[in-house]
Each structure stands twice: as C-alpha cells, then as structure tokens.
Symmetry: C2
Subunit: 223 residues, 2 copies
C-alpha cells in the first residue's frame, strides 16, 4: 500500500510524511522506530475517547465511563481498526518479524495505529489527531451500549480462563462506599494462579463485578 492510499483512508494529509513513516516502523526494523510515538499516541487516544464518551453519555458515572473507554482503547479494538485500514501492508518490519507474520500480529498493528495517531498530532496538532480518531472510531462508538454494561466481561474472562485451563475467578466484596442514597460498591476479582487481583467499582455489586472482570481481562491480555 502506498502512503498516499493510507492518508486517504485516514482522512488526513501529512505536511511531513517522514512522521508517518516513523509511525509505521516497528522496532525490529531499526532506529528510529515507533516506540516513542506509541507512548504519545496511546495517551492521545485515551484523551480523545474520554472526550467522546463524556459528551455522548451524559448519564454515565465515572466508573462506567472508564469501563467503556477501556473496551475501546484495548488491543482488540485497535487491531480491528488497523485491519480495516490494511495497516499491516504499510508497516516496516525487520526480516525476522516479517517472516513470522508480524504484519498481522494484533499487538504490532495496535501499537502502530497508536503511533499513527501521534504522528498526526505531531504533524497537524491535537484537533487534527482528534478528528482522525473520531472518524475511525465511528463504527465502534456506534456499538457501545452502556446500559448493557459488561454482561460480557465476566463471561469473556471465564472463557479466557477456561481456554487456558485456569480455575475460575472469585469475586470478593471489599467495601461499600458513600451514603445510603448514593452508595458505591467495591469488588475484587481474584485469579490467584495468575497473580491477578483487580478492583471494580459501581453503583451496584453486579456492575462492580463486571468492572473488576473487565480490568482483570485487560491485565491478562497485556501480560
């Protein structure tokens, strides 16, 4: 894929295409590569998603906003967008990575996409990066259904663990916070065998459990 095509798909034209090229360069290719860009792009993405969710879901509380955001910035979501862009075809990888299928590896694609967001910021400023991200995330944001929180997080965690033959997690009520009319519950999700203990919060015990499961899943996927 040419850089021309990629820029069309991103809906952004670089003044300095060297920045885009650096964003597409995996560390296996040499220096300079996209590792520092990824650091920056990750936090720009987080920020833009926070803004989008804050504006879109006026009824959601902090804990729920965090949970939804986590589902949008994790590797799965980024990988899906990168795949739709055919980003793999534009990557610059070292020979070893290339031969072992690096250009379709979810982690490499997700990192490169974050790096591309940073490159747009460095080239055109925050608002340029924000509109590229907003545009690419239209389909994923449309799927967000905050009222059906993570019915899927506990199920997804269970499936993840079963696939690896690890005992199911236990959910432990840690504390109830706040006054009676606005209570908040804190629940720990524990998977001792994998050294995981995450804390979820929410206006009900069920939502707190879902959040803790979501965080556990994020931690396990990142391992």
């Amino acid at each position: 894929m040419t850089l021309e095509t990629l820029q069309n798909r991103l809906g952004y034209r670089f003044a300095d295409t060297k920045l885009l090229l650096e964003a597409l360069t995996h560390r296996s290719f040499g220096l300079p590569n996209n590792e520092r860009f990824e650091f920056l792009g990750d936090s720009i993405l987080n920020c833009v998603m926070s803004m989008a969710l804050f504006a879109r879901f006026e009824q959601l509380r902090e804990g729920e906003l965090s949970r939804v955001r986590a589902s949008l910035v994790r590797q799965d979501a980024l990988h899906r967008i990168a795949r739709d862009l055919d980003l793999g075809e534009a990557l610059r990888l070292g020979e070893g990575e290339l031969k072992s299928g690096g250009s379709s590896r979810p982690s490499i694609l997700a990192d490169a996409l974050e790096a591309v967001f940073a490159a747009v910021f460095l080239d055109g400023g925050f608002d340029a990066a924000r509109s590229v991200i907003d545009r690419l995330y239209v389909p994923l944001l449309a799927e967000v259904d905050p009222r059906r929180p993570s019915k899927d997080a506990k199920t997804a965690l269970q499936e993840w663990l079963q696939a690896r033959k690890v005992a199911l997690p236990t959910y432990v009520m840690v504390q109830a916070l706040g006054e009676a009319h606005a209570q908040e519950f804190e629940v720990a999700c524990e998977v001792p065998k994998l050294g995981i203990r995450t804390l979820g919060r929410g206006p009900s015990r069920r939502i707190a459990e879902q959040q803790s499961a979501e965080l556990a899943l994020t931690a396990l996927r990142a391992k």
Copy 2:
C-alpha cells in the same frame, strides 16, 4: 477564596464560571458534582504530560517516559499543585466532609484539580487546558531528572511497606525480550500479602525493577 482569585492563579478566565463551580463541587455536596469532570481531566492531564515529556526528553524510551509520567500525574504531585493554589478554600463540600477536614484531604484536592483541568477544556478547548497544565507543572517538570530514574521508587516502596509492617517486596525476573543489541527486561514486583503483582520493563534489569516498584506504589496508593 473568590473564583476571581482562583482564575488569576490558574492563568485562565472562564467564559462560563458554572463549569469551574462544578469542578469544585465534591460529591458530598450533592449533584451536579465533579466526578465526571475528574474522569475527563485525568485523561487530559495524562495526554498533556505525555506531550511535554515526549518533546522534552528525546532520548528517553517508552518505558522510562511512562515511569516519569506516572510520577507527575499521581496524587502526590496533584496535591502539591492544589495546595499551592489554595484550592481547598474554593471547594464545595458536604457538611460531614467539611467537618472531618475534607478540604485538605489529598485525594479530594487531587481529584478537584483534575476536574478543574476538564472545566478549562470544556470552556476553552484543548489548547487552553494544555497551557494551564503546562504552566502549573513548570516547577515539577523542572525537577524531573530522568537519568536518576527511580532510585527512589524501590526505596519509597520499601518505606511505604515498612510503615505498614508489611513484608518487603520480591523482584522476579520474568523474561528478556528483543534481540541482543536491544534487549528489554521484564521484572515482576510482588507483594503477595497485599495482592500486588506489577510488571516493569526497561533496558536493564535495574530499571525494570524500579519501574515495577513505581507501578506497585501507584497501585497501593490508589487502594
């Protein structure tokens, strides 16, 4: 303190001071309060710090940038800035919180400061929030010395645990990644009694240990 004085100290004048007022309203006071603003402000702060560190420390790798950023966005740092602004005097707290000294509680002050950053963004856009944050962070950024990484993180973690009579952490080498000339080490910091296991990375085992200690400390402080 009047909102006038606070705006002078922030170096920003609100078009809509209702936003500032909402940022200063703790949940104990009622609704609307600053919880949702805090969600947004936290990620704006993270993003602005990433930009500042990315531009300032061209030699730092991703893991080191993350470590330095963590030290700048954690409660201690925010509390210090909030104290310098006398933010506590401007807070709106419920009666119970007020009597129990809520206006000088580090977590309440840190959260409110993040909420103020969100209010500036909502009132004046990203660049306005960025310049307020950059300005307030001048003293803290000046103190950052990335070459002496977190000699202090391991020490600080040890002191934190000793003060609570918890056994010292163990550092376990998890894996070495990458090729010989650009290896990266992954180390786990474990505090089993408190259910903590964090992973640090870095170009040397020592730096990976420091990073894992930093993350453990962040997790413990957030508990």
